[in-house]
């Protein structure tokens, strides 16, 4: 075993991953390509295989600040899992990017048909969201700032 082998969907059984794989294909984005845009329907999602994606926010009249980057094994996009299925951030390929691309609507149908798979995927997606929330809270503490929350040697 070697991290990040299984990535975001590692907790699913082999059979569950196979079912999802039938709804996915490999895809690539050239450096700088926009993967999705804030406000657009979240009809797909991706697991990063190679390279890096940057999540960004559109601000009027300025460059788009990057709020987080994602790399190999990471789940790119979770808005497809929760109504209203609309992206709340944008994403761009930060260099050449290779991904596994899933058809979100088809995955949702499979989840409704097979609640065991649906629950496993809900836990996986929930885990990712929880992780990102924890990371965001840590960054809110501004740990490395002039007066860090914890004190750094």
């Amino acid at each position: 075993m070697s991290t990040p082998a299984g990535g975001a969907l590692a907790a699913l059984t082999a059979g569950q991953r196979e079912r999802l794989a039938a709804l996915a294909r490999e895809a690539a984005f050239p450096a700088g390509a926009r993967i999705f845009e804030e406000g657009e329907p979240a009809d797909r999602f991706w697991v990063v295989l190679e390279g890096r994606a940057a999540l960004d926010v559109s601000v009027p009249g300025g460059p788009r600040p990057v709020v987080e980057t994602l790399g190999p094994g990471d789940l790119l996009g979770w808005s497809w899992f929760f109504p209203p299925y609309v992206w709340h951030l944008g994403a761009v390929a930060d260099g050449p990017l290779r991904v596994r691309e899933f058809d979100a609507a088809a995955v949702r149908v499979v989840c409704d048909e097979d609640p065991v798979l649906g629950y496993a995927l809900a836990r996986a997606v929930g885990g990712v969201v929880a992780h990102r929330l924890k990371a965001t809270r840590m960054r809110l503490l501004d740990l490395y700032g002039p007066r860090p929350g914890g004190g750094a040697p």
Binding site: R139, Y144, P148, A152
Partner: protein, 288 residues
């Protein structure tokens, strides 16, 4: 537990005179000072150990050794100590303001080190947040000097902004070293930043390691170390193979005064570097 006798070796109660021979600005509030002994030098420091550095007229504070250099006069007498100091208060600002030629007093070596020998044969993760890279730099140098002793080696760095990353030139050189994965994540990127954006904990997902045989060396703000250690344990790294460096106010440096007591541990003597199996439960305790 490290035997006190070994930990306080060479620990004269009186500081030895050293002289600043170089001052490198690292970031807006942090400098690296190269100190050369004016006379007899201290015993050699192991990676992770610290010195009590005395800014004349201001006071004395614990500062990790961020590197060692052979000085002009050669031999141990001429061994230069590198200290990376961030100005946060009276004493550290005093040290930060020193210039080549200025004198300081130095006691040490104190405390436990990273002890990389225990990591040999397995994968190694070095995880540093902010100034936490200072005490870890000698360890990274060890990993670079003797790659054959270790498995896959990763150095993961976190900082507030790209401008706050320490030792940028050296980190660039490390990135070019064969077999060493170097990742850096910042909270706030700026134009031209080509690393990651996020926490250093998220970078763990990028590193390749076999958790049961991995040794991790973690230093940074306590919240960052806790989050990193918990994530590593979750991924299957044994708690005793995760070493963290804890910081508490220190006074004597020799385990006598009790200023740095954390539960049953006197951090200046039994720490600052501890296994997570011991440090984890102690960090759950606010004050004892």
């Amino acid at each position: 537990m490290t035997a006190p006798a070994a930990a306080v070796r060479g620990s004269a109660a009186v500081p030895l005179p050293y002289r600043v021979v170089r001052r490198d600005e690292e970031t807006a509030d942090t400098v690296t000072l190269a100190l050369e002994p004016a006379g007899e030098g201290l015993e050699p420091f192991r990676p992770g150990q610290f010195a009590m550095v005395y800014a004349f007229g201001r006071g004395e504070v614990p500062v990790s050794v961020s590197g060692v250099e052979r000085g002009g006069s050669g031999g141990r007498r001429g061994e230069r100590l590198l200290h990376t100091v961030r100005a946060v208060g009276a004493v550290s600002a005093g040290l930060h303001g020193l210039r080549p030629g200025d004198g300081v007093g130095v006691r040490g070596p104190y405390g436990t080190g990273w002890e990389p020998a225990a990591a040999e044969g397995g994968d190694v993760l070095v995880v540093a947040g902010g100034l936490g890279l200072a005490p870890l730099r000698p360890l990274v140098r060890e990993l670079l000097a003797r790659p054959e002793r270790y498995g896959r080696r990763s150095v993961l760095l976190g900082a507030r902004t790209p401008a706050d990353l320490l030792y940028r030139e050296q980190v660039r050189a490390w990135s070019a070293a064969e077999g060493l994965l170097v990742g850096a994540a910042v909270d706030r990127p700026g134009p031209g930043w080509d690393g990651d954006v996020g926490t250093v904990v998220a970078l763990l997902g990028r590193a390749r390691f076999h958790p049961p045989d991995t040794a991790a060396f973690v230093c940074g703000p306590e919240v960052m170390m806790r989050a990193t250690a918990r994530e590593l344990v979750h991924r299957g790294v044994p708690a005793h193979r995760i070493r963290v460096s804890l910081e508490r106010t220190m006074h004597c440096g020799t385990g006598h005064c009790g200023h740095c007591q954390l539960g049953p541990v006197l951090l200046c003597r039994d720490g600052p570097v501890l296994g997570w199996d011991r440090a984890g439960p102690l960090l759950g305790v606010r004050e004892l």
